[in-house]
């Protein structure tokens, strides 16, 4: 990625999401929470999930991190609302799989597709995957 491409990426995609993140708010109450933490860099978020009759009704997040991790979690939170836990597991699995694969993987959500195209971003893939991996690990370890 050239410097100009990096600037375009941040200007058009990352900074708007970083500056106006979706549901970036600390909640006093939630059905359950998930911690997303990267001990190598200090990025740390709490994800708040609200549920109703087994469906995820809303996802909020709050914490500290880089523009990439914040933008990625913002996009993730929005994409996970109104899904079942099974579908969230599937979505996070697909995202991590797409980020780890050499070949490109399509996603109907344009913003998720944008994130997946950053799989070769030098040294920053962990930032993009942070929230997704936390959610994946959470749902893999609970009885659905």
């Amino acid at each position: 990625m050239t410097k100009q491409e990096l600037q375009q990426l941040f200007k058009n995609e990352i900074l708007p999401e970083n500056d106006n993140p979706y549901h970036f708010q600390e909640l006093q109450r939630a059905s359950f929470t998930v911690e997303a933490y990267n001990s190598m860099c200090g990025d740390k978020y709490t994800l708040y999930f609200n549920t109703n009759e087994g469906q995820i009704t809303s996802v909020y997040f709050y914490g500290f991190g880089c523009a990439l991790s914040k933008a990625s979690i913002s996009i993730m939170c929005k994409s996970m609302e109104h899904l079942s836990p099974n579908n969230i597991t599937s979505l996070s699995d697909q995202f991590i799989f797409a980020m780890d694969q050499e070949h490109s993987t399509e996603n109907a959500d344009k913003k998720i597709q944008m994130l997946q195209q950053l799989k070769h971003f030098d040294g920053r893939v962990d930032c993009i995957k942070l929230g997704w991996e936390a959610v994946k690990n959470h749902f893999e370890n609970v009885d659905l």
Binding site: T2, K3, F10, M40, C41, G42, D43, G65
Partner: protein, 382 residues
């Protein structure tokens, strides 16, 4: 433009040459062969130990053990020296400013042996609270473990004063010299400490090689920590007896090539002179501290009384990882994150910082470019 020298320095040509010459023409396993090639390799290996001891101001090569690096050296002291002598009610003193390598081994011992881990705090400038340090040292203190230079703030600790406090109470002292071995006069004798640790790769040498120097006072207390060939006097079915330090640590085949490389690195450093290196780094550090405040929104982390070569900073509203990614596009390599000092950053209320660290091949023009690049980033971000 490489500004990540606290992580690792670039390799000196003479180091690469010395290693490759050994690998190509002199390679043999040491201490074992009854043939010329092995004998010559053994001689070079042991000569390197003598040269390293001399570099550390000692005429006794048997104070010097080869390890995989600073982390390994500290863990050896933890397991080989300290663990066997810990009892409930004891304490270990270290500081909040340490690299994880000089923190977690003591934390693990404290938890396992039910002893207290005392952490010397810092003041708002990033200097250690020496009164608190003095108060922490008592007759139950079994070790004081301290770095020479903070890898995050660049603080130079007043080791003379600190070690004197411990020595008055006959407390053994470990010095993590990972950030200072390159350009400060170090060694268990010059510093009057008992354990000295550092890594080759932070001083123009190879990866995977480090030093643990032990004072003559405690040499006999260094027990083997892993077992195998090369460290034994006698092996019977019933029991095994071991060689003395440092040969009781070298189980298995040592990293001979890297030991040769490390000796070449020390020769390279001696050729330039530590005083000249310090002078250059001081000049660069002062210049950077003078120039960086031109960048709008910059916060230099810490203002210690003495610092060298390492400066952490943050830019308003820009995460250090994003700083590093953008500067990378200007071919500037710097570090971003917690720098393996999570307790320090937590104590300072920080989640991460960007860090520049200099070496002898950096210059003021590079600092000018850094400032230009940071200014451009601030303009872009706002």
């Amino acid at each position: 433009m490489y500004l990540d020298n606290a992580a690792t320095t670039q390799r000196a040509q003479s180091v690469v040459n010395a290693q490759s010459h050994f690998d190509l023409y002199e390679n043999a396993n040491i201490h074992r062969g009854i043939y010329d090639l092995s004998n010559q390799a053994t001689q070079k290996f042991e000569n390197a130990r003598t040269e390293i001891a001399r570099f550390l101001g000692s005429g006794n090569a048997n104070t010097v053990a080869f390890t995989q690096g600073t982390t390994a050296s500290i863990n050896i002291v933890a397991q080989s020296f300290l663990a066997p002598r810990l009892q409930a009610g004891d304490n270990i003193v270290t500081t909040i400013m340490e690299h994880h390598a000089n923190f977690i081994p003591w934390q693990m011992l404290a938890q396992k042996y039910q002893v207290e881990l005392r952490l010397v705090p810092i003041d708002k400038n990033g200097d250690l609270e020496l009164v608190q340090l003095s108060n922490f040292l008592d007759k139950e203190t079994k070790l004081l473990a301290i770095s020479h230079i903070s890898n995050t703030l660049g603080t130079i600790h007043p080791l003379d004063e600190i070690i004197e406090l411990a020595k008055r109470k006959d407390i053994p002292v470990l010095v993590d010299a990972a950030q200072s071995a390159c350009h400060f006069e170090i060694g268990v004798d010059p510093l009057n400490c008992d354990f000295l640790t550092f890594s080759g790769h932070k001083m123009f040498g190879p990866f995977g090689i480090g030093i643990l120097q032990v004072s003559e006072k405690y040499i006999a207390d260094m027990m083997p920590y892993n077992y195998g060939g090369g460290i034994i006097k006698d092996v019977k079915v019933e029991e095994t007896s071991f060689r003395n330090f440092p040969h009781n640590l070298d189980a298995g085949t040592p990293n001979v090539s890297s030991v040769i490389g490390l000796a070449a690195a020390l020769k390279f450093i001696s050729g330039i002179g530590k005083s000249a290196m310090r002078s250059h780094l001081n000049k660069l550090t002062l210049y950077a501290l003078d120039q960086l405040p031109q960048v709008p929104g910059i916060e230099i982390i810490g203002n210690p009384k003495k610092r060298i070569g390492i400066i952490s900073f943050n830019l308003k509203n820009i995460h250090p990882h994003d700083i590093a990614s953008f500067l990378n596009k200007d071919d500037i390599a710097l570090r971003a994150g917690m720098h393996c000092t999570q307790p320090l950053l937590n104590a300072m209320g920080l989640q991460a910082t960007a860090r520049v660290s200099f070496s002898i091949y950096n210059n003021e023009e590079e600092i000018n470019k850094l400032v230009v690049s940071l200014k451009e980033l601030m303009r872009f971000w706002s």
